[in-house]
């Protein structure tokens, strides 16, 4: 605990630094859910990618319905064995589940997912009838 002299300007310096650090990241959408995703979209469909290092692809569950996508899986947990001294423990472990809201409805029957080196890639197509049609404007 630090006790500042009431009129000491230094008490604000640390707070300001802390706030700067928080706001420095705000140009990027923030989510507390795991895994963080990147979504690339055009009119025909979406591609969602996520980093899930260590996740076993064979127990991943991907499901899609209307305009939501659910990713469920498990990251390996290191057993806390006898005689292990931990110096760093930064990695995430255990089960995870996330449902993501997509910008539009997709065709749940045409979802394609692959996972390699801990990177999950999901391709989702838009139903044919939803793809916007370009209307030609005739000049008269």
């Amino acid at each position: 605990m630090r006790f500042w002299n009431e009129y000491d300007p230094r008490r604000f310096r640390d707070l300001r630094r802390e706030m700067d650090r928080v706001f420095a990241d705000l140009d990027r959408p923030r989510s507390t859910a795991f895994p963080p995703v990147n979504i690339h979209a055009d009119e025909n469909g979406l591609e969602v990618t996520a980093e899930i290092p260590g996740a076993d692809p064979s127990v991943l569950e991907i499901s899609a319905l209307h305009d939501s996508l659910t990713i469920r899986g498990e990251l390996p947990t290191m057993a806390d064995e006898e005689g292990h001294t931990w110096h760093r423990r930064e990695r995430r472990s255990g089960p995870f589940s996330r449902t993501i809201q997509l910008p539009y409805q997709i065709d749940a029957g045409s979802v394609d997912a692959s996972c390699r080196d801990g990177v999950l890639r999901i391709s989702l197509k838009r139903p044919e009838q939803d793809i916007p049609r370009r209307i030609e404007v005739k000049a008269s």
């Binding site: 055009d42 980093e51 990695r91 080196d117 801990g118």
Partner: protein, 138 residues
Amino acid sequence: MSKTDTSKTESSLSKREAALPEGVESTHAGPEYLPSTDIYETEDHVVIVADLPGVGPDNVDIALERNLLTLRGRVEQNPPSGDRLPYSEYEIGDCVRSFRLTGEIDRDRIEARTKNGILTVTLPKVGAASRRIEVTTE
């Protein structure tokens, strides 16, 4: 084992950029991030486990220079097609992290393997077996 970076470990949502020594630049354009790492020690080994998503076994580089162990993972940037509306919660970039080893590591027997984007480096301690001295009682 002492560390070369002093950043606090926390479950941060954004990747931490790797810091280079003052005045040093990376030769390629992209950012470099510190991979999340677990380190534990047993009687015989020190084990480093690092998350390197998107890095295959051919793209891992482990260098040991004097006492400095540097782990580096190169990511193949494969931007998907359809970039009209990118929504991005995480950055993609190469990973690098260095650790200063203590003298007790047997450098010749360091092993590394990768699986599903996780790199495990096993560092055997020098003479761990031979240090056990039998004590007999009269």
